[in-house]
């Protein structure tokens, strides 16, 4: 059992790299083996149930009776533009952010993994951080959370910052993005290189607009980031600004220590880019592949997931609802080895550490999702054998009146459940 909680970095060096779990912080206690639950941060929809954002827990272990079923659903009250979330380094808490209201909801997922409990809210994020808006990414660091944001309170544009909070929810500091690369989106660390990459998207006044309206506004469309910043992670100092196409979103470092590169999808141009460490220690950004045909209409490359053996990269494109699996054995020349339509729209993809199970959700942003018949809302689970995806189960979030499912995280019974006897201490309570 204890093997299952070896640190990601420790296991990285202790065993050959194996396989969203594969896209987590190297400082996070990793879940290996069969996940029991998929936690889905879900946007509320008016008229669907209570209409509030909620954390939905789905049974994911085929050996259990709740497989493929909704195990629990905890409403946070109100709609906040539920988007991403992340565990604290010890995997005891799941932090979830609202891009619209900038509220952060902290769930205890350790005490009863099948029934997460909302234990804290951070309601003064813009004030505490000195004007940061839109908490987006939640990335575990030892003893604290690194939050990459999207916007600011002054003009709701794209200038934004990285923010740190302690695991106890205390504000630590704000680090504004550099002047030549003011936008933010993702932040990912390569621990062995002491390098962090950050990517860039757009501000509140763009991401809260309806997509067709936004895409028809040429001036607004200029307000997207096109930079990736290389940081000295320990010093939190920007070292290099790399120019890339518009809206480079998710960053995935390769896992093997000798693989000194990361992949990033340029969302609006539908290109896959690599960021490679050069022999002099600096980095270069290089286009490595087109994602799908270069149609007039952008496909919106939205999420990517790297396998733990650095062999496969799953790439979701929202507009055609497809996943394409690239063989990234040659990182400078990835090739598509498989593609499949997941739904009428698809956004997030998460794979297990062993690479055998892959989960997809459908929602991008409340005002960017399709409408009418196109607005499918689901979680779909598949098996992956290295060649193809095989459907396992799905949960229809519309039918269940849950909302728009977005970010997924995995949970496991017993991960922190105490089996201590009375004379032995159990879990430390904060």
């Amino acid at each position: 059992m204890i093997r299952s909680i070896l640190f990601a970095f420790a296991a990285l060096v202790a065993v050959p790299a194996l396989a969203d779990e594969t896209c987590q912080s190297p400082y996070l206690a990793r879940l290996e083996g069969q996940e029991d639950y998929v936690y889905v941060w879900t946007l509320g929809v008016e008229g669907w149930g209570d209409g509030s954002d909620k954390l939905v827990t789905i049974g994911a272990n085929p050996a259990r009776e709740n497989y493929g079923k909704v195990v629990d659903s905890v409403s946070v009250g109100g709609r906040h533009e539920a988007h991403h979330g992340g565990f604290t380094d010890d995997r005891r808490q799941l932090w979830l952010g609202g891009l619209d209201t900038s509220m952060i909801f902290i769930f205890d997922v350790a005490t009863d993994p099948g029934h997460p409990k909302l234990v804290k809210k951070i309601e003064d994020f813009p004030k505490a951080t000195g004007g940061v808006v839109g908490p987006h990414g939640f990335y575990a660091l030892p003893g604290r959370m690194l939050i990459s944001a999207l916007s600011n309170a002054t003009d709701h544009g794209g200038k934004t910052a990285l923010v740190e909070y302690s695991n106890e929810g205390k504000f630590i500091r704000t680090i504004w993005m550099p002047d030549d690369a003011p936008y933010g989106y993702d932040a990912r660390v390569n621990a062995g290189l002491n390098r962090m990459l950050t990517s860039s998207f757009t501000g509140h006044k763009n991401y809260m607009r309806k997509l067709p309206e936004l895409m028809g506004d040429a001036a607004a469309m200029k307000n997207f980031g096109d930079t990736v910043v290389v940081w000295d992670f320990h010093a939190r100092k920007p070292l290099q600004t790399l120019k890339v196409p518009v809206a480079p979103l998710e960053i995935r470092w390769a896992w093997a220590p000798s693989h000194e590169y990361a992949f990033i999808e340029a969302a609006l141009t539908g290109e896959l880019w690599g960021v490679f460490r050069k022999s002099d220690g600096t980095f270069e950004a290089v286009k490595v592949a087109d994602i799908g045909p270069r149609d007039a209409q952008p496909l919106l490359a939205v999420d990517i997931s790297i396998s733990a053996n650095d062999k496969y990269l799953f790439v979701d494109t929202f507009m055609d609802g497809k996943v394409r699996v690239f063989d990234i054995t040659n990182p400078r020349k990835p090739t598509v080895i498989y593609e499949r339509v997941i739904g009428k729209q698809v956004n997030m993809v998460s794979q297990t550490w062993d690479g055998k199970r892959v989960y997809f959700t459908s929602s991008l942003l409340a005002n960017w999702d399709g409408t009418g018949h196109e607005d499918e809302q689901f979680l779909r689970a598949f098996g992956w054998d290295g060649k193809q995806l095989t459907a396992k189960f799905e949960v229809d979030f519309r039918k269940a009146k849950l909302g728009r499912p977005h970010h997924m995280q995995f949970g496991q019974e017993g991960f922190w459940a105490s089996r201590a006897t009375p004379d032995q201490f159990g879990v430390a309570q904060r």
Binding site: I2, F9, A10, A14, A191, G192, N194, D232, R430
Partner: protein, 221 residues
Amino acid sequence: MRRWPRSWLAGAALAGALPTALAADPGHEGADAASFRFDPPEVGSYELPAIDRVSDHVLLASDGQPEPLLDLRPGEAALVSFVYLSCSEECPLSTATLHQLDRTLARDGELARRVKLVTVSFDPTRDTPARMADLAKGLAPKGRWQFLTAESSAALAPVLADFGQDALWIPGEAERPGRLRHVLKVFLVDAQRDVRNVYSTGLLDERLVMNDLRTVLGAPR
């Protein structure tokens, strides 16, 4: 390339402070390969804002007497590591790094006087003061390095909670002794008892910790 101090592992095992199997645990061969392929940022070129503030706590020293965990004077700092002696997973990495730091600090007398290393056992039932004394003997510290345990697990629980150090006791099975599931963490604490950094496996680089100590402590006093 960072290397394990194998002499310490063997020495500690021989001293009876750690199971002999520790030195041969293949899992630690992997840790042996851990390398930090970068030069740490320069001392004083970055900030380490307080993450949290902890209290001082009275525990048991290796001579069985009550001992404050921190008891820091102005201008001092401590590195606090929670381990248990029968741990065959992450704890040896933590202790090995503190051992390296002890040796490095010893070469800088002024800094050595201002830094205190503290190893605290998670497992007071088995890690008695006498066993902690054995560990200290095996490691032969050159500087200020305390080896603490507690009267009981109940006495230790508030310390772990204060530091945000999780631990879960997994009872033993037929042929396997009980063990503790925990996330490896080493805490850098300043004289105000502010936690200025937390190191886990992917951050526990002796060079980085040394630069952090110098950054936190500033100019020689």
